[in-house]
């Protein structure tokens, strides 16, 4: 399984037999080879993070201020909302995920990235697709299905961008110089294999009526299954043990966790259609699969949290760990919540409410985005050879985003629950289910605005790093935050 092909100017020794300096040299050289494509993906991701956050904040405010910017079609809620969803998912999360994956591949394969030309082409094509798709949605051209609003030309560009990325990653993997394929790499490889057929089937227009609805929600949930979650887990499996310096708690559990994840999570999609005109047996299958997710989620929780809890001081001190451990804990939480939410008992109340929206944000922001923030904090000094110059800004970023998503989640969950209770009680007028949410929606908007502020601070820091601007620092952001001069 180890490769002997040599694409590298210096002869490579197997990593376990060489000296520390040699290993370090190789790592620095690989980090250099990966720098430009990684930064290219991340730069695009940053732009879409800001754009997507602004769309989200506007959409949220329109609930309490329905006449806000309501005279232009291009700014109507029904277009801003899908613009928000598609830019944060296919823009921020996906481009950041791709950029972090490129860097991780270098580390996990201990080999330089292959065919980087494909990666640059991917960045261009992908961002073009996002621009086109977002513009089309705002102009009034939508695919009409949630998570699939980008019309076909834009979807084709994004599919192409992903395939180019996947080909480069596979080539790199084939020329790897490691004997062992680390657990993060399983998740990444699975994502690379799963995403193209998922996206192509979903955009192929194979069905109509309720069959298409089943396909729609198989797709939307599977986007989390095959792309967002695997990348988040791959990061958590790498950064938590790597920063702490201890291997994960149980590799065997990691193996069990991966395969039960792959087996069960692919069946969850129809839990979005409980009570709907879909064959009951199929919906029940999805509910069962959603509950079976307890197995992989608990194995992952054991691995991530036990490893982190033994080193809580480091979690406080390291920006990477703060974000990644926060994210990993939210993964456990959102998954347990999701498994229970899928049951008919819960769905009767919370289906069609803000409860589900809050759950979605817990997953995509509190888990995936926070983990990606942590990953970027780790890799950027290594690819730019420049330390994060403003530790204060890192603190601001962490506290605004964590407080923001906590407020968002609590407000959306409480408001959504009350909304659902009012909705299923037919003795109450329907408008009660609307009016009861209004104060919670204000709080949710406040949370979203906090998140937006934090995101902007993060993007600003990224821009500073790319230019290697700001005060020169010899010690990592870790020691500056805690002012322990003797911290290694």
């Amino acid at each position: 399984m180890g490769s002997v092909s040599d694409n590298f100017t210096t002869p490579i020794q197997p990593h376990h037999s060489s000296g520390a300096e040699h290993d370090e040299q190789i790592r620095i050289l690989i980090d250099e080879s990966v720098a430009a494509p990684t930064v290219a993906y991340l730069a695009g991701a940053m732009v879409w993070l800001v754009v997507g956050s602004l769309f989200g904040a506007l959409a949220s405010l329109k609930f309490n201020l329905p006449d806000l910017l309501s005279s232009q079609a291009i700014l109507t809620f029904g277009r801003i909302r899908p613009a928000h969803l598609n830019t944060v998912v296919y823009g921020w999360v996906s481009l950041a995920g791709a950029g972090v994956t490129v860097w991780l591949m270098g580390r996990l394969c201990r080999a330089p990235i292959q065919w980087t030309g494909l990666l640059y082409a991917s960045v261009v094509v992908w961002n073009l697709g996002l621009l086109l798709g977002t513009g089309l949605i705002l102009a009034g051209f939508s695919g009409g299905m949630e998570w699939l609003e980008f019309p076909l030309p834009a979807a084709l560009l994004i599919a192409t961008g992903f395939v180019l990325f996947a080909v480069s990653m596979f080539r790199t993997f084939m020329l790897r110089k490691v004997d062992h394929i680390y657990v993060s790499l399983w998740y990444i490889l699975a994502a690379l294999v799963w995403f193209p057929p998922l996206y192509i089937i979903a955009n192929a227009g194979l069905y109509q009526g309720v069959s298409e609805a089943a396909m729609n929600w198989w797709f939307a949930h599977n986007l989390l299954t095959v792309w967002v979650t695997p990348i988040g887990l791959a990061c958590a499996y790498y950064f938590i043990p790597k920063v702490i310096g201890r291997p994960i708690y149980s590799y065997y559990l990691g193996l069990l966790g991966f395969w039960t994840f792959a087996l069960f999570y692919n069946w969850n999609g129809l839990h979005h259609l409980v009570g709907g005109p879909i064959p009951t047996w199929a919906v029940s299958l999805s509910i069962v699969a959603s509950l079976l997710m307890f197995i992989p989620v608990i194995t992952v929780a054991i691995n991530h949290h036990l490893t982190a809890f033994r080193h809580l001081r480091m979690v406080k001190q390291s920006p990477t760990l703060r974000f990644v451990v926060f994210g990993a804990m939210c993964y456990t939480f959102v998954s347990v919540q999701g498994s229970l939410e899928a049951t008919r008992t819960m769905q009767e109340v919370v289906h069609f409410t803000h409860y589900t929206v809050a759950h979605a944000h817990l997953g995509v922001y509190a888990f995936a985005s926070m983990v990606l923030f942590g990953a970027v904090y780790y890799l950027m000094p290594r690819v730019m050879r420049w330390e994060w110059p403003y530790p204060g800004a890192i603190k601001v970023h962490f506290w605004t985003t964590s407080a923001g998503i906590a407020l968002y989640f609590l407000a959306g969950t409480a408001g959504g629950w009350l909304q659902g209770e009012a909705m299923i009680d037919a003795t109450q007028p329907f408008m009660n289910s609307v009016s009861v949410t209004l104060p919670y929606l204000w709080a949710r908007s406040a949370g979203g605005i906090l998140m937006t502020i934090g995101n902007v601070v993060f993007v600003w820091q990224f821009a500073v790093m790319v230019r290697r601007a700001g005060p020169l620092r010899f010690t990592s952001a870790w020691s500056r935050i805690t002012s322990h001069e003797d911290t290694p």
Binding site: R27, K242, Y251, W259, P381, P488
Partner: protein, 62 residues
């Protein structure tokens, strides 16, 4: 009740398949015991936290 039953059956089948795979040597012993250490090497050994950047040499890089 049906759902719980389906869950138990499905989960047991999956577990059985997994245990078969492990026992039939799909995964080597050394993978399971040493796989977790694959992210370390002699320059980043275990028990050394790595939140340092590679710029720890202190050079200003432009």
């Amino acid at each position: 009740m049906l759902i719980v039953g389906m869950g138990v059956v499905g989960g047991s089948l999956a577990l059985a398949a997994f245990l078969w795979a492990v026992r039939n040597g799909q995964f080597s012993a050394e993978d399971l015991h040493e796989g977790g250490s694959a992210i370390f090497d002699s320059s980043d050994p275990p028990d050394t936290p790595t939140n340092q950047a590679s710029a720890r040499h202190g050079k200003r890089v432009r």
